[in-house]
Subunit: 339 residues, 2 copies
Amino acid sequence: MGDSVRIVIDTIGGDNGAAVCVKGAVKGLKNSRNVKIILTGNEDELEKLLSEEEYDRSRLEVVNATEEISLHEAPVEAVRKKKDSSLVVGMNLLKEGKAEALISAGSSGAILAGGQFIVGRAKGVKRAPLAPLIPTTKEPSLLIDCGANVDAKPEVLVQFARMGSIYMESVMGVKNPRVAIVNIGMEEEKGNALVKETYPLLKACKDINFTGSIEARQIPYGEADVILTEAFVGNVIIKLYEGLAKMMLGELKEAIMSSAKGKIGGLLIKDSLKGMKTKFSASNKGGAPLLGLKGLVVKIHGNSKEEEVISAIEQCRTFVENDVSGKIVRGFEESTNGD
Amino acid sequence: MGDSVRIVIDTIGGDNGAAVCVKGAVKGLKNSRNVKIILTGNEDELEKLLSEEEYDRSRLEVVNATEEISLHEAPVEAVRKKKDSSLVVGMNLLKEGKAEALISAGSSGAILAGGQFIVGRAKGVKRAPLAPLIPTTKEPSLLIDCGANVDAKPEVLVQFARMGSIYMESVMGVKNPRVAIVNIGMEEEKGNALVKETYPLLKACKDINFTGSIEARQIPYGEADVILTEAFVGNVIIKLYEGLAKMMLGELKEAIMSSAKGKIGGLLIKDSLKGMKTKFSASNKGGAPLLGLKGLVVKIHGNSKEEEVISAIEQCRTFVENDVSGKIVRGFEESTNGD
């Protein structure tokens, strides 16, 4: 099994504890022969959970880690100080070449900081973007960047466009992915200084399928495969997406429950709503990849369950098997616009 | 009627034609004695529409305008060249002191450009922000700025915070409105350069109730009365709000209609949904004010109906009667941070 994709799962920090990671890992091993898993976390707890499962022990390893990084800690400091946290121990495995990918449901800030400082950026990569998939009426779109790279420069956005394009093609199987830049109007002369400077650079890139600007109102309709923006705006988009969807579903439920007639109607549309929820669920698409690092880091939601862990394992396997990191680095080397 | 609030209604450019403006104007006159209306547009058409209505002619005037600014024209050029368009004719009435407010359902770009170049900024105002109300689970919040002021400076955002605060207090009747700045985290040290520079300036303002950062996911829950951000992000927020809400309601409808059971359920929850729609409808709150000008300019949706016109008339009356423009200008004069 020398060619197996070795995936670390950080088992501390998610809302649902280590059990969902263990169950997900065991299922992940069954789903694909080409995967090995390393669980970082409380060894005693993990071994106890594992003792209840049936799996090929030669493909699963436990690495003890005693510290936990909480959501309330300053990320950079936490990553630097808590060397025995499950996240830092896992990231060091990536750094040392003992694994190709890491999955964590822990603090986003710590994941971003650790990716930068421990795993490190791949050759030629200026910044490492966080790129979640967002649901649309068609296929999900990749929103790049939602990470920590605020006030990014045009050449950094161009790199993000390339990375996002390679990711969508190689991992999601989208042929010739459409890349659009988030803007406040459709015309080329519209936008803030960053967008105006980046636009012609993107137009000049022969290796991406740049389709121009996208306005925020079009995003939910899947009119681009890669939605390019700097991290501040990306963060606003992903959080508003989540907040507004949650609010609307909550209000709908409240409206339905406010009358007897509504309640009966609600029961009748329950199945329809479930189908809609599944369509918009990201759990079967994996987590948000942190791209451009020396290894793949995948951030899954804090409230992730077994299914999300399983999907993320598949995502990591596809990513590594298709050599996405190599494609990104080679893409930058070949491109005249790469630097 | 020397003290009447004189309101111009631009009757060209809305999706529903001049008829909704005429009907709205006539109802607006009936709603409040302290209002006079000036309709700009095709005189023949307007007189024909008016001949079918009963109203006090001494309080309504028609000013002929022959040109139309379409949505596809470059706004600045259109406003400069089409001097006989209903929008430019109306804005000139504001400039000449013949009216205090203007309502238009036409091109946003032309409204922003005309506000800037024809009506002009009030004394001390650096930029004129567009500030729509957005629906939340509580009361609507004012999102300032969604206009054309991309790449704004910190001192400009501070002015917007003051204007928004005065507007919410004087027009919407919110006491001591909570002002929050859109950010990518809650801590003071988070954010891009603009937010980091603006944050301490807002904290130092004694005349606004600054509550700190707001993340995009909290916006739909009405956790601030004034949501402060620069225009690029504001534009993304308002358009994503519209796009996502429309998409979700569309998907819900489709999900319900996809099965016989769902269809019956859909009929039963129809009333509940209507209540929800009313709650989230902005039609009873007026349009988006363009603040900080020498007169009030209100942008209503292109698809506005009679109700939106009536609400906007009430909004203009409240704005002028409460001397919001005066309060804004005096606020800047008194404030040590105003410049």
